[in-house]
Amino acid sequence: MGALAFLGPILLAHAFHVSKTMVEYKAQEKTLQVSVHLFIDDLETSLRKEGHTALFLCTDREAPRAEGLIEDYLRRHLQLRPNNREVTFTFLGKETSPDMSAVWIYLELRVPGKLRSLAIRNSLLMQAFDDQKNLVHVVGPGKKQGTFLFAGPGVEEIMIFGK
């Protein structure tokens, strides 16, 4: 079994590392509603790499500091700039997916004025996994849609909605 343990990292062939994020513009409330879907074990691995252990995310024993850590982690790795302005999001809450493997995290951003453009950076979980891919789907004013795939840190995508 020793030899197999050595081969483990090479043979861990199919654990895919993906996240998805929905960003939806609500014209009446002038907000962006954001839902982020992350695998719980991947999020836990990322936070552990930053020195946060024993968080037991999304279980009965979840550490009281866990939500604050997740919020802080998202602020650092998911940046949404409506109309090219820095806006801080509100952390609305989180919800475990029906199969208990993932967590949906809900955020809200106030849009300064009418939404004309949206700049996105998403480096979620990329520090923990080389092959991490993050999908972002945007539904803007007039239901204009855009889909972006982030496969490396430091990438910024900008979606323009017009006047």
Binding site: L7, L12, A13, H14, F16, V18, K133, L135, T147
Partner: protein
Amino acid sequence: MSGVFSTYLQLGFEHIADLNGYDHILFLVALCAVYQGHDWKKVAVLVTAFTVGHSLTLALAALDIFEVSSPLVEFLIPVTIFATSLGNTHPSALDSSAAGGFSKAMVFRYVSALFFGLIHGLGFSNFFRQMTLPGQENGLIAQLFAFNVGVEVGQLLIVGLILSLTWLSSLRISARSWNIFISGAAAGISLLLMLERFPT
């Protein structure tokens, strides 16, 4: 990259061509091992059978028509690689490759490629389902189509690469040695994958 089509095409392509998740590549390697560079027409038919299989289950599972537990599928994928490799050592495998056409052994290979394709398609669907978005159900067909096209493009590229290597090998070693060497290697790796993924 902002279009749904290009994004899902990229996802499909990278999913099959991913060196971290090389099980689909390994299956194609095993499938091609009995052929020589000039057999590309037979390989095309065989790969098409595999494609029909995996497109079918990918579509059915992606559209939620049925669901298969993903640990079981992940375990069955190396089983298909092992079975294909083992089949490559059967005496008829080399003979039929030389004779070609629709011999009994060839038909059996087509049918098993189709059947194994069904299993790989379920594997693709487990990934694809993670990449679909709530509230976007009406765009599912377009996403699925683009993803599948990406898988096919990746597959075509991989098979082309394998056949090029096969042709290169034929300059130095016999087709029989190549087949046994490659099939043995694929069987060994798939056995380790099976042990690792054994459903508990």
